[in-house]
């Protein structure tokens, strides 16, 4: 693959990982303490803005990762995992934007249904974090194999963060909402380390071509 293309796609893939990290931090800082009434009322447009930004982040990440997956070399599976993780991230967020308010404000008798909707959205959320964690672990290993000293250190940290996110989020898919915090924290740390690792690893050609 043309190195210029790889560098550009790598930058976009890196943004695709970093944007959901930024939106998650924004959400936690600005919206996690809001009352249910305000959440679906005055602040709903803020919620939608944050999630929509996240959808755009996932979308560009998917497109870039699919492009990077079509190159030669050992990274293919990792890019495909990142693309698939982005797809489930979109699904999770789409359910949030499209369904949460409708079910959450329909009345007390719909509370069980509203909870079911939140549950399925978070299942996709955990699935997304698991796949992205696995993809980052793979990219981190590549950096560990091929990087200089600093690159090797970064690769090691990113692959450990990726494995941790994958393991915790597998457990979260089974246990549900109890593990939102650990799933979200490990996934977000992995996303941040992954954004850096993806940027660094795409500065040079793939293992098979170098």
């Amino acid at each position: 693959m043309d190195i210029g293309y790889r560098q550009r796609a790598g930058l976009v893939a890196s943004l695709g990982l970093a944007i959901p990290v930024a939106t998650t931090l924004t959400y936690v800082a600005a919206l996690s303490e809001v009352s249910t009434e305000a959440y679906y009322g005055a602040r709903w447009s803020d919620v939608v803005s944050v999630w929509l930004t996240e959808v755009i982040g996932f979308s560009i990440g998917i497109i870039a990762a699919l492009g990077l997956a079509s190159q030669n070399g050992a990274e293919k599976a990792s890019w495909n995992a990142l693309a698939l993780g982005g797809l489930f991230g979109i699904l999770s967020t789409a359910i949030g934007i499209g369904l949460f308010k409708g079910f959450g404000t329909a009345g007390e008798e719909f509370e069980a249904l509203a909870n079911a909707i939140v549950n399925i959205s978070f299942f996709f959320y955990f699935l997304s974090k698991m796949l992205i964690g696995a993809g980052i672990a793979g990219i981190g290993l590549e950096l560990l194999r091929r990087g200089g000293l600093l690159g090797k250190a970064l690769g090691l940290i990113a692959s450990l963060a990726g494995v941790a996110a994958a393991v915790v989020n597998i457990a979260a898919m089974a246990t549900g909402m109890d593990l939102v915090m650990p799933g979200g924290v490990t996934g977000t740390v992995a996303g941040l380390m992954g954004a850096i690792a993806v940027f660094v690893v795409t500065r040079s050609t793939t293992a098979d071509e170098s």
Binding site: D2, Y5, A9, S45, V48, S49, L52, V55, I56, S59, I62, I63, A64, L66, G67, S70, L87, I90, L91, A94, I95, I97, G98, L99, K101, G102, F103, T105, A106, G107, E109, F110, L113, I117
Partner: protein, 219 residues
Amino acid sequence: MELSYRKRAGLAAAVGLAGPVVTIIYYMATLGGPEGNSYEQVSTYFTERWPELVSVWLTENVFLFIGAVAAMGLAAGRGAERAAWNAIALGSVMAVLSNTLAIGMFRATGTIGEEFLPVFRAVLNASFFLFFLCKAAVAIGVAGLSWSLVRSGGALGKIIGLIVFLVGLAAFAVNLVAMARGLELVVPGAFTGSVAAALGALVAFLVTRSAPAGSEESA
């Protein structure tokens, strides 16, 4: 990528883009949605017209699958079009999801009693969110392909490419706003998205008649 494969996949991608435009025109001409938002109107529509609705949406899904599969194949080729084909594939998958929510949940939530109307509206909302996301992703992919045609085409190809590029950008912008605003922008979102897809089908066909820009074959 072998050129004859590219031509065949390009034809399939063009069919995948044009098919949903035909189904949406057919839908608007023969079905057109419930007459209003009341439970009576919604439940009557989804009870009486259900077989036709499912037929239209399923036909659309078949076209979308053809388009997604062809676009993913074309994205594996070399050159500058990769991201554009991947965007079209992503958009097609989102539209399949949108239709799937419609087929699986519209009648089930829209005909079971007036007290479930908020639930029906929420499902409708989610389906249209994915619809807008589809249109935005397909439109930006069409814009990218058009840019490729501007770079590699003859005089006529360059003009077509430039026009479709602008249409694609416009449809992308409208549908991006629609994702935030919801159902009030159904008509502009669907209209610009369908125009972009129809012109995009033409561009997908034209651009796959020759090797991609930026590839060794074209150099």
